[in-house]
Symmetry: C2
Subunit: 433 residues, 2 copies
């Protein structure tokens, strides 16, 4: 087995320096199973952050489906094949009726790119409205519509064809609270942005949003916000796009989709990360009208998108979610986890807020509960010390002070309890340390 | 087995209408092996067009490497893992010494997107110079730098931050011939474009080109063209990018890379299609200086890029190319194929030109050898009739009259002979029919 130092040296020599490694003591992971990752020394780590390994690391059913199809055929969609059609059928059956046409791609970034192109072609408008703090992917245009990126280190700032609406953050935002009235305050501001831009000849062609903004800090917006935002989008003629790359496929428990849990009605939905349990896969589902407008003479072809291996894997993931009841499991386990973390808040002053839905949870760490000053240092320490104890967490949010929890959905009640106990113990030690 | 009509109906209902199907009688392909695809009736089709299935459809070695790693672990690059580093080591060893830093992505489009972002960050310049007729991918920015797309049906036209240099086409271009003098004429025009734009404050940050332009019509430019183009790029401070998505990994026979065969020196190389034998994979390799400039504080993270399964598959493809001597095989078989097709030209007036390198070949079909008027109708008929006889060809080029030949590299001498015989027979029948 290669030593960690050799791997670090090779990584520094061979991979781009803009790629970060997790944890102060980087992990050399060689195997995965269920909610656990195993390092080269055979040590198990409870994975609380990889929402990509949605139905569990190396799930046998998914592996077998992919392997069997690789042995048979892997080619493009210019030939007929059952699997891509069965998969499209299954995926659309999980969505509202008006979302009926599928495009398959290789990542969430490719999905969001295509969603913006669909909206742009359907409306004839290049302008995009986005939510503050959002991240939608790593291409040029997606960085341009991601305030998290263009407004951060190395960013080029906001472009003239991008509009930023406020993040409806019940804990840190300008308006606080979780109800309809708070949503209305954020929505009034969003409408003002959209209408102001429309008046200066920049009516948005697309409004893109996550139902539960993730890199913005695992924020659960107030009730009615996303539905109202999409109504506001329609009122200026923009296509409402729900980015489900982080939160889709049953993670939120009460619905297959976070936009569904929010009662919102998108005209485009994008999917990535969990969709293939790690296999490079993404999807865009839209209305017939938008798909037809996009067929303007320019072909959209994606070399690998919709190949039979990807379709077989995507189908297997849907099967496993169904057969193992993972959506309901996410709801029940998420409730237990959130309750456990909220109980900790009664004993740890540093826990300013615990929020989430299903197995998509955030802990907002603060220096002071009254000022809500973000405590990035504590968040970093908590992640590092917990990792040393075999519990993998990560930080996020504009102030890097939010513990991000989004484990494989097979995460058990015992795993949830262990996570709560670890956070309890480490926060206690760091407070007195 | 589902009937073809049912599959067509489901496809129309479920997939985007901007996706085209190959051949008048669409093929329902269920299995692949070597250079052959098999339909639902068990009929074999010689695959002369899928350069993605580079080492042969469903190659056992590649399938086993992918399957074994899927069973073990598939996760992201924020942990240490040997395979991504071994793969980066092997890939850079195939490239000139100055190309030493790798980024792994999920497709050729993602690779070209990242290449443009690298060049833009390194130079601080958004402007991109591209070659007429080129296609570089399906994202917003890549469509903007693809004259084949932005200048074609549904295209928005050339943007102000995109510069188009002439395609150095020895057969159809403004300057004809294959030697250095012809190259010099095209290069003078390219320099005029680059310098003119620089003078109006739009100096290009990137010059992107394929060594053997593919969708532009499988064009083999005159000697010295790409090397000169990249020199011209450097003279205005632009980063020269070689797009090897179609032509890399030994296809051209005399070198692992088409830019190498052309004697050119890029500072960024992009890879896709053949790199994973169908698995969604892409890569960008660049210089240390460009990689360091890109590390400006903004992280570049690609969720699936560089995962251990993709790395295992990429490594297996490199192993098979080596062990089966596929690069040399492509050279020898390509020479035989090109010689056979050129012999046909002595008997078929419709063959205006046969060009190519290794197993990347084009047949330019014309109505008249003197006027060189493109014969798209004949090309379409040839593809359709040959497909009915079990030989899969495709058309390309701005006039849709070029037969595109880029088979899996395991394509044998007998396969090449059969392809030549089929073209001979079908052209004969269509001429007298």
């Amino acid at each position: 087995m290669t030593a960690t130092d050799d791997l670090l040296e090779a990584r520094e020599r061979l991979l781009g320096p803009s790629l970060s490694l997790s944890y102060r003591t980087p992990l050399h992971i060689v195997r995965g199973e269920g909610a656990y990752l195993y390092d080269a020394d055979g040590r198990a780590h409870l994975d609380c952050v990889n929402n990509v390994a949605h139905v569990g690391h190396a799930h046998r059913r998914v592996v077998e489906a992919g392997s069997a199809q690789m042995r048979r055929l892997n080619t493009n969609t210019r030939y007929l094949h059952e699997l891509v059609l069965s998969y499209a059928d299954r995926l659309t059956a999980l969505l509202p009726d008006h979302l009926e046409v599928c495009y398959f791609v290789n990542s969430g970034s490719e999905a969001n790119e295509l969603a913006l192109r669909l909206a742009r072609t359907a409306t004839g408008r290049p302008d995009v409205a986005t939510v503050d703090g959002a991240y939608h992917g790593n291409t040029q245009r997606l960085v341009e519509v991601s305030p998290y990126k263009f407004g951060g280190p190395g960013g080029e700032g906001r472009r003239d064809d991008v509009q930023v609406m406020p993040l409806a953050d019940p804990y840190r935002g300008a308006h606080r609270g979780e109800g309809l009235e708070t949503a209305a305050e954020y929505l009034a501001e969003a409408r003002a942005v959209l209408q102001g831009e429309a008046e200066r000849g920049h009516a948005a062609g697309a409004v893109i949003a996550e139902a539960i903004p993730s890199v913005a800090g695992q924020v659960v917006p107030p009730s009615g916000w996303l539905a109202g935002l999409f109504d506001a989008a329609r009122s200026v003629g923009a296509v409402p796009i729900a980015d489900e790359v982080q939160v889709g496929f049953g993670r939120v428990g009460v619905d297959a989709w976070a936009f569904g849990a929010a009662g919102a009605r998108p005209d485009i939905v994008t999917m990535g990360k969990p969709i293939g349990n790690g296999h490079p896969l993404g999807a865009v589902v839209t209305t017939r009208a938008i798909a037809e407008a996009f067929a303007n003479g320019m072909e959209y072809f994606n070399t690998f998108g919709g190949n039979p291996v990807s379709a077989a894997i995507g189908l297997a993931v849907l099967d496993v979610i169904d057969e193992e009841g993972l959506q309901e499991h996410a709801r029940v386990t998420g409730e237990r986890l959130i309750a456990g973390l909220r109980e900790l808040a009664s004993r740890h002053e540093a826990i300013g807020d615990v929020r989430g839905m299903g197995l998509f949870v955030g802990i907002d760490l603060v220096r002071d509960r009254d000022t809500r000053e973000a405590d990035a240092e504590l968040a970093r320490e908590l992640a590092n010390v917990a990792a040393e104890r075999g519990v993998l967490l990560s930080t996020d949010g504009p102030f890097h002070n939010v513990m991000k929890i989004k484990p494989p959905l097979v995460f058990s009640a015992a795993d949830a309890d262990r996570l709560v106990e670890t956070v309890d113990a480490v926060l206690g030690e760091l407070a007195t340390g």
